[in-house]
């Protein structure tokens, strides 16, 4: 695992020095949100001390600097996923990006939206909401390894207008073949949206290579601040979209009976934006680029293999991930005989932070894992082999003391 120098980069994350309940913090909850390096934390302070102003409006010195900062951030995001800057719409988070599309896409009665069993609620509910105007929602199934049933796409109806899927599941860790699915969907005339909230932080993502029409992700899961997210919109189809929020800066000209709207991306960025967030996200991207996304991916893959291998040796655990063709360092599991919250509580006493419950993917957890909640350990570039050992050791103690394996 020497694709990156983990001991050196850990020094950039002040929170990792914290003691929690008397123990060194082991943060295994990065799928919920990542920790932030000091480059991002200090950068946000720098923004408010040196650049703060409302961009795109006033023409004074600070406004110019803020506009530059906002525009540079957009350029960085665009380059990061191989898009054009005007194809990058800043939003609050992945949820807002998907909701925006659910309002903006020209979906009508009898059109089909194909989403999947692996989705977060945010890639289910916005589409369920369209049922009241007659849009039909179909759910692509998964097999026992938590891989998507690709035959669905081969056989899907011509009425399918949108295929939407997560690039990486936030529960099973399955990494879907978005490129292949996109190719099939386009052949059938459907548009493709990829929820990349769990993939963009962990692997190189290239929208041209994946050939998708829309891609959504959140800044806070990729070392950036909360409240900033991205919706990539393929420029050639942007004219098919209706407006979402209306107000300042999304127009070219407003007369009382004649409004001319702005082009992409401004048309979807009504009102004063989260400039601090965009700036911070740009710094997070600088940080990831300095390591190199190939290295981040390699290191994450090595962590995932080690995590599943070591957890696999603990009797009394049910492990739900690590079986699909391709997967990330997200391990959903239960201790037999214990509720996930109780396991999370016992681990917290040892300074280990994991997630428990439904992970905002209740249909998947209930119908596919067939449990009423699961624990989830999710790792990122600052986690170590040594932490995996400590985690597995504590898990073993919980199994022996309280489990019923």
């Amino acid at each position: 695992m020497n694709s990156l120098n983990v001991q050196r980069l850990r020094k950039d994350f002040p929170i990792l020095k914290k003691k929690v309940n008397g123990h060194n913090l082991i943060y295994f909850d990065s799928a919920a949100t990542s920790q932030k390096p000091k480059q991002v934390i200090d950068g946000i302070k720098y923004f408010y001390e040196n650049l703060n102003s409302n961009p795109l409006r006033s023409i004074h010195y600070l406004a110019e600097r803020a506009t530059e900062a906002y525009s540079d951030a957009r350029d960085k995001v665009a380059k990061f996923i191989n898009a054009a800057p005007e194809e990058i719409v800043f939003v609050r988070n992945t949820t807002e990006a998907i909701n925006l599309l659910s309002f903006a896409l020209p979906l009508a009665k009898d059109d089909i939206v194909a989403t999947t069993y692996l989705e977060h609620h945010s890639n289910l509910l916005p589409w369920f909401n369209l049922r009241n105007k007659g849009v039909m929602v179909e759910i692509v199934d998964v097999d026992k390894n938590m891989d998507l049933d690709l035959s669905y796409y081969e056989d899907m109806s011509e009425k399918t207008k949108l295929v939407t899927l997560s690039h990486e599941s936030n529960v099973s860790g399955t990494i879907n073949d978005a490129k292949k699915i996109s190719r099939i969907a386009h052949k059938k005339g459907a548009m493709v949206l990829v929820d990349a909230a769990q993939s963009v932080p962990h692997l190189p993502v290239d929208v041209k290579e994946l050939d998708v029409d829309f891609l959504a992700f959140s800044g806070h899961k990729m070392l950036g601040p909360f409240g900033i997210g991205v919706l990539y919109v393929r420029k050639s189809i942007s004219n098919q979209l209706s407006n979402f929020l209306s107000g300042g800066e999304m127009i070219k000209s407003v007369r009382l009976n004649d409004v001319v709207y702005a082009d992409l991306p401004n048309r979807f960025e009504a009102g004063t934006q989260n400039i601090e967030g965009a700036y911070g996200l740009g710094l997070a991207i600088d940080y990831l680029n300095a390591i190199g996304m190939r290295n981040v991916e390699k290191y994450g893959h090595a962590l995932a293999l080690e995590l599943f291998e070591k957890m696999g040796q603990i009797k009394g655990l049910e492990i739900y991930g690590g079986k699909s063709r391709n997967f990330g360092a997200i391990a959903a599991f239960n201790v037999k005989g214990l509720h996930s919250h109780d396991v999370a509580y016992f681990l917290d006493k040892k300074g280990i932070a994991i997630r428990s419950g439904f992970h905002c993917a209740q249909p998947f957890v209930e119908d596919k894992l067939r449990v009423n909640g699961a624990c989830r350990a999710s790792l990122y570039l600052y986690n170590t082999s040594h932490e995996i050992d400590t985690f597995c050791g504590e898990l073993k103690k919980i199994v022996n003391t309280y489990g019923r394996g």
């Binding site: 509720h339 919250h341 109780d342 509580y345 428990s356 419950g357 009423n372 019923r404």
Partner: protein, 125 residues
């Protein structure tokens, strides 16, 4: 840290009191916690103004299961009018703890909320 005490209740969690669907009951109500996946059903049998018996079934974490089990035991024979006034402090008293963290408050009250709904549903008789 007070919550540690709750984990003394592991035996009650494994073999809860008042568990199982009774043959004879007047009303049933579900208690569900979205974030946890706790899912319980409570069954109440009344005797005029008082609660003759309360049972529950379903599953959840230690805190939710022990809370609902202890509530069911404690409410037997109590006046139904005492239920709507109950809150998390009453659950804490039953558990013998002073505090319950914000993230676990819902666990402690999922059972109580279901029992309250059941009493409300049957109205004043």
């Amino acid at each position: 840290m007070d919550e540690d005490k709750v984990y003394e209740f592991l035996d009650l969690y494994r073999n809860p009191e008042q568990f199982g669907k009774p043959k004879d009951f007047d009303v049933e109500e579900e208690g569900f916690s979205e974030s946890c996946g706790d899912n319980f059903t409570v069954y109440l049998k009344f005797d005029g103004d008082s609660i003759r018996d309360v049972h529950f079934e379903g599953s959840g974490c230690i805190i939710s299961t022990v809370s609902i089990s202890k509530l069911c035991s404690a409410l037997r024979g109590r006046r139904r009018s005492s239920v709507p006034k109950m809150g998390i402090d009453d659950v804490k008293k039953l558990l013998g703890v002073k505090t319950i963290s914000m993230s676990r408050a819902r666990c402690a009250t999922v059972g109580l909320d279901a029992i309250k709904l059941a009493v409300e549903k049957t109205g004043d008789e």
